[in-house]
């Protein structure tokens, strides 16, 4: 691994962690969302490095382009950037941080002691994750999950519409019905 590579990956990792921390700490939900977008973009680059270009661009399209935009949209729509008031649960903050630290330590220990795969990243063939291969796998081996996911999406769409629907005044509805 070259020095450039280490610098490159280290830089990306730091950006990812810092953006995540910033998302965590920022008081404004809009900034949180933006930092999260930055995090996603960084991860997308890492995906490229891990030989997953399709996933990388899907990540940008779906997460950054759709999901986070929806977040921004809702935050702006509701005007819910900031909350007032204090932490109402006693000990929540301390406990959370303590547990988080233990968790990280555990995971790191796990990586050190349990994962034999402290292996170098593998060089992948050009078409390891080509759209064709992903498509073939998805429509043959994983056809059932694919259909299930499609169904989940459909039901989520309907669910979202039903949840946010405001009952229209009867007059308007009647006029529309006549037309």
């Amino acid at each position: 691994m070259t020095l450039i590579g280490i610098i490159f990956y280290g830089f990306l990792a730091i950006v990812a962690i810092v953006s995540a921390v910033a998302m965590l700490l920022n008081r404004s939900a809009i900034y949180s969302a933006l930092f999260l977008v930055l995090n996603f973009a960084t991860i997308a680059v890492l995906y490229l490095a891990l030989g997953a270009p399709f996933i990388a661009f899907t990540q940008v399209t779906v997460y950054a382009g759709a999901i986070m935009i929806l977040f921004l949209f809702v935050i702006a729509l509701l005007g819910a950037e900031k909350l007032s008031g204090h932490e109402p649960i006693k000990g929540q903050r301390t406990m959370a941080i303590v547990l988080g630290l233990i968790f990280v330590v555990e995971l790191v220990l796990f990586l050190i002691f349990r994962n034999q795969g402290i292996q170098p990243m593998l060089a992948l063939t050009q078409d390891f994750a080509s759209p064709q291969k992903i498509g073939i796998a998805m429509f043959t081996q994983y056809l059932l999950p694919f259909e299930v996911v499609a169904f989940i999406l459909l039901s989520a769409t309907i669910g979202a519409i039903v949840l946010t629907r405001v009952e229209k005044p009867a007059r308007l509805g009647a006029a529309r019905g006549k037309k």
């Binding site: 995540a20 969302a33 999260l36 997953a52 990280v104 998805m138 994983y142």
Partner: protein
């Protein structure tokens, strides 16, 4: 670059997501923290896909993304509905079910 580098990054991001859920009161930010956790998991998946030379990990990530999109659609719709009722997205105000 060892694959455990990516796994460690994934782990840290996951814990940060958990902390986000535990520490923030804004339901939208909690939601974002969930997305961050998803992302951490995705990163682990892609890393393993790389390590084991299997496409399955990537396809799984794809499914996770689709489900996450669905989840966000419903979740945000819920947020809007909650906001309409409560006038706030403070998750600690949604404690009507307390014992």
């Amino acid at each position: 670059m060892p694959t455990s580098f990516f796994l460690a990054l994934s782990a840290i991001m996951f814990v940060l997501g958990i902390l986000g859920v535990l520490l923030r009161r804004n339901a939208l930010v909690i939601f974002m923290s969930l997305e961050l956790m998803f992302n951490a998991a995705n990163l682990a998946f892609v890393t393993f896909a790389n390590q084991y030379q299997l496409l399955t990990g990537q396809i799984f990530v794809f499914f996770i993304m689709a489900v996450a999109a669905a989840e966000v659609a419903v979740g945000l719709a819920l947020m809007v509905a909650i906001f309409r009722n409560k006038g706030s997205v403070d998750i600690d105000q949604l404690n009507s079910l307390k014992g």
